[in-house]
């Protein structure tokens, strides 16, 4: 028996995705990205002076990422403040974004990226990365290209794109495996790879190929959202 997705999607079908740039007027760049019911927002501040001074790097700006869930974004209220989970996601998000950035022209400064989840239906870190990537572009930070990110799932033996909460909790057969992936658009360079569950080594390249297809679609949505706001500024 093959796995049927609870919401009837095809295995390579994402939930509806939306993107909007320029949602926080105070920020140098900001964006929202949604996968179905999962809603992530991101703001970029900087490059700006970095304190404490001992963290400053004369060779360029440092990137500092903070990811967290808002307390009411999940069923059981999340206690406000950083957890080990959010600290880990903040760090891997930082690593997933930094290969796209060229920060050498901004010595001793920091680029702060703040990512928050308003509503969680799994795949929150990858939604946050997509939002942050657009926010960095809007802020005018020199970038090689956008970062695109999606989660690949393995439900029993079936690979699927864009895991939702119902799927994350799937337990039959080989159970649920969640593989958040990010890549530099239009390359085969992966900047985020995490995994939880059970998957045979030979399926990893297939998971990457599925992510490539989904990321190409996400890239188009991100670019369109950025063009929209650039148009507004011209008027």
């Amino acid at each position: 028996m093959t796995f049927k997705r609870p919401d009837g999607r095809k295995s390579d079908e994402m939930r509806p995705i939306t993107a909007k740039v320029g949602i926080i007027p105070n920020a140098d760049g900001s964006a929202m990205f949604t996968f179905g019911k999962t809603v992530a927002i991101a703001a970029v501040y900087g490059p700006r002076m970095l304190h404490p001074q001992h963290m400053q790097d004369p060779k360029g700006a440092i990137l500092r990422v903070n990811y967290d869930l808002l307390s009411f974004s999940v069923s059981d209220r999340k206690k406000p403040g950083p957890s080990r989970r959010s600290q880990e996601i903040s760090k891997v998000t930082e690593w997933s974004l930094s290969p796209a950035l060229d920060l050498k022209d901004f010595p001793n400064t920091v680029v702060d990226v703040q990512i928050y989840i308003l509503q969680a239906d799994a795949s929150t870190r990858v939604a946050g990365i997509n939002a942050a990537s657009m926010a960095l572009a809007q802020a005018g930070i020199p970038m090689k290209n956008l970062i695109c990110s999606v989660s690949i799932g393995k439900m029993d033996k079936e690979l699927v794109v864009d895991v939702d909460k119902d799927e994350e909790d799937f337990e039959d057969g080989e159970g649920a495996t969640d593989i958040p992936i990010a890549k530099l658009a239009n390359t085969d360079e992966y900047t985020l790879l995490q995994l939880d569950g059970k998957i045979q080594p030979h399926l990893i390249p297939q998971a990457l190929a599925l992510a490539d297809k989904a990321c190409a679609k996400i890239y188009e949505v991100q670019k369109k959202a950025l063009k929209n706001v650039m148009g507004d500024e011209d008027k």
Partner: protein, 273 residues
């Protein structure tokens, strides 16, 4: 920056050597150091082990206590993995709140153990919905000379295989003193272990020394098992550091991972009692 305390000269020398397939200690890029496993680090622990891999040394202890189950898993015992990078083990480790590496190490071991189901948590229920055993794994590096997560995974499995469930006294309280003969229920056909691939320039290597590790720009940690004795199964993975990995890098890792696993399991089996 990965090269804290490492000179540019060392970085460039290592990059050049790796590109020629060479290492200071004569190993091949994908060759691991030999390791030894000893037991009984503490007779107060329900199980414990010490792993020495080159100059890297890690101790792992398992303690068990009676606790209440989590609301979403009333029919299972609890698992907790913690650890600390004690300033004892390296001049690079500092006291105070845990830095990222001190958070990452136990979290990656936790995911490897949990997702492989090597501990049969369903057999750790005392009274369903009320009382269950909590398995607490604690990991402490004693000397850091690289590849701590890989060494910690060996130590964790060795310690779990030694672990006995303590007796309960007539009031249902845990009696840590009397000798128990009841072994921790494990899926002995499923043994998870972790392997970290590091990247410097275009070269991939495993089991770096501290110096090699500091020079590297990218890494991916993989936790995998011989699931149910049937097939290689990956349970956890995390890419780290700022360098991206190419499809080719990841495909190369998938090619070598099963052999690394098989070799390490074979070596580990020599130390299992």
């Amino acid at each position: 920056m990965s090269s804290m305390g490492l000179s540019g000269l060392t970085y460039h020398t290592l990059a050049k050597m790796f590109s020629e397939g060479k290492r200071f200690d004569g190993r091949k890029l994908l060759e691991q150091r030999d390791f030894t496993v000893e037991y009984n680090v503490s007779n107060k622990a329900e199980g414990s082990a010490r792993v020495k891999m080159g100059k890297t040394e890690v101790v792992v202890g398992v303690k068990m206590d009676v606790g209440t189950p989590y609301p979403d898993s009333l029919d299972k015992g609890n698992l907790m993995v913690s650890g600390d990078l004690l300033p004892l083990a390296s001049p690079r480790f500092e006291s105070g709140p845990p830095k990222f590496n001190a958070i990452e190490l136990p979290r990656l071991i936790d995911r490897m153990v949990r997702e492989s189901h090597v501990i049969d948590l369903k057999k750790l229920v005392i009274t369903e919905g009320e009382k269950v055993w909590t398995v607490m794994i604690d990991i402490y590096p004693i000397n850091d000379d690289g590849a701590l997560i890989d060494a910690a995974s060996i130590g964790t499995i060795a310690a779990l295989l030694q672990t006995h469930i303590p007796n309960l006294d007539e009031n249902g309280r845990v009696d840590h003193e009397s000798k128990s003969t009841k072994k921790l229920p494990l899926m002995e056909n499923t043994i998870p272990l972790s392997f970290t691939f590091y990247k410097l320039g275009e070269s991939l290597l495993v089991d770096p020394t501290r110096e090699e590790e500091e020079a590297c720009d990218g890494k991916i940690v993989w936790g995998l098992s011989n699931w149910k004795g049937k097939e290689h199964m990956i349970h956890s993975c995390q890419k780290g550091l700022e360098m991206s990995m190419t499809r080719q890098d990841i495909e190369q890792m998938m090619k070598h991972l099963p052999k690394l696993y098989d070799d390490t399991l074979k070596k580990l089996k020599k130390f299992l009692k």
